[in-house]
């Protein structure tokens, strides 16, 4: 198995989950992940990628998702967020999810990526590599991000 194939099998699912958390169970998720791995394949000899393939992949997935959302103007139009919601889910689940997306939307880029990757159970070291936040500041940034997120989530419920 080549080096690239190893990276693909090891990180495909995490990248997919990250994209799904940002976009919902949308059909575009598969396409976005495919695009991410194609860019990885084309740059597979870059030193940065060889050193930290996971961090690169998470960042690439995140920015591809953000680009997609920007194209769709979804970040500015909250009403359109409901499009990303899976119709097989119950109404309540959909409400919860659109509330989560709205709350996520209020965070800064780095904080948003941090929150999504934290929910993947990544270590602080991995979080620092992927977000570019200094490893010693992860605890501080994370607690601040989660506090903001919690506050926004509560706002949505009220």
């Amino acid at each position: 198995m080549s080096n690239f194939e190893k990276i693909y099998t090891r990180h495909y699912n995490t990248c997919r989950r990250v994209a799904t958390k940002l976009l919902g169970t949308s059909n575009v998720v598969s396409d976005i992940i495919q695009e991410v791995f194609i860019s990885l394949y084309e740059r597979r000899k870059d030193a940065v990628i060889i050193k930290q393939p996971a961090a690169w992949l998470y960042r690439a997935t995140y920015y591809k998702c953000i680009d997609f959302l920007k194209q769709q103007n979804r970040f500015s139009e909250l009403a359109v967020l409901s499009e990303a919601i899976d119709e097989s889910q119950s109404f309540e689940q959909q409400e919860v999810y659109s509330n989560l997306l709205r709350a996520l939307n209020t965070l800064k880029d780095n904080e948003r990526l941090l929150a999504v990757l934290y929910s993947e159970g990544l270590s602080y070291k991995e979080l620092a590599d992927a977000t570019g936040i200094h490893p010693n500041s992860i605890g501080k940034t994370l607690s601040r991000t989660l506090r903001k997120l919690e506050k926004e989530l509560k706002k949505g419920i009220q």
Binding site: K21, T25, S119, L146
Partner: protein, 149 residues
């Protein structure tokens, strides 16, 4: 002893300290109700947010990982490239045609047909005769026996 701030407690519940640091904080927590409550609060918050994110994945879990097909190298065709290719093709065709034409004129014969004969219309066709004389383009008669057709 001073209480820990939220960042430290967050890092503590995520178990991101060294063993020594962890036991130091634990020792403090035993005696400090305020920090205990904070740790509990942050633990609940973290797991609630994690759960919320992961709920979204439930309907996506059944999908299996597709095999990766490496991209094939595609030649990008710009207008400039197409134009150059067309010009090259046209020039090449022209050269081939001119060369062929030059070669062919050497062995070509043009038939200047002048038919002069007298015939008796009352004679049957089988008894009529006529002679054919071939000439090259300079008017020189061609000897049919010496030519290979």
């Amino acid at each position: 002893m001073r209480c820990y701030n939220e960042a430290v407690i967050q890092q503590y519940i995520d178990k991101e300290f060294t063993n020594e640091e962890m036991s130091l904080i634990e020792k403090h927590l035993i005696h400090c109700e305020h920090c205990q409550n904070l740790a509990e609060e942050l633990r609940e918050r973290s797991s609630a947010i994690k759960n919320l994110f992961n709920q979204q994945l439930i309907s996506d879990n059944e999908r299996s990982m597709p095999t990766f097909n490496p991209p094939t190298k595609r030649l990008k065709l710009s207008h400039k490239r197409i134009a150059i290719a067309l010009i090259a093709a046209a020039t090449l065709t022209l050269i081939i045609i001119t060369n062929n034409h030059k070669n062919n004129t050497q062995s070509d014969y043009i038939l200047y047909q002048t038919v002069e004969f007298e015939m008796d219309a009352n004679q049957p066709l089988s008894e009529q005769t006529f002679t054919m004389q071939l000439m090259d383009q300079n008017g020189k008669p061609i000897d049919l026996d010496s030519q290979h057709f």
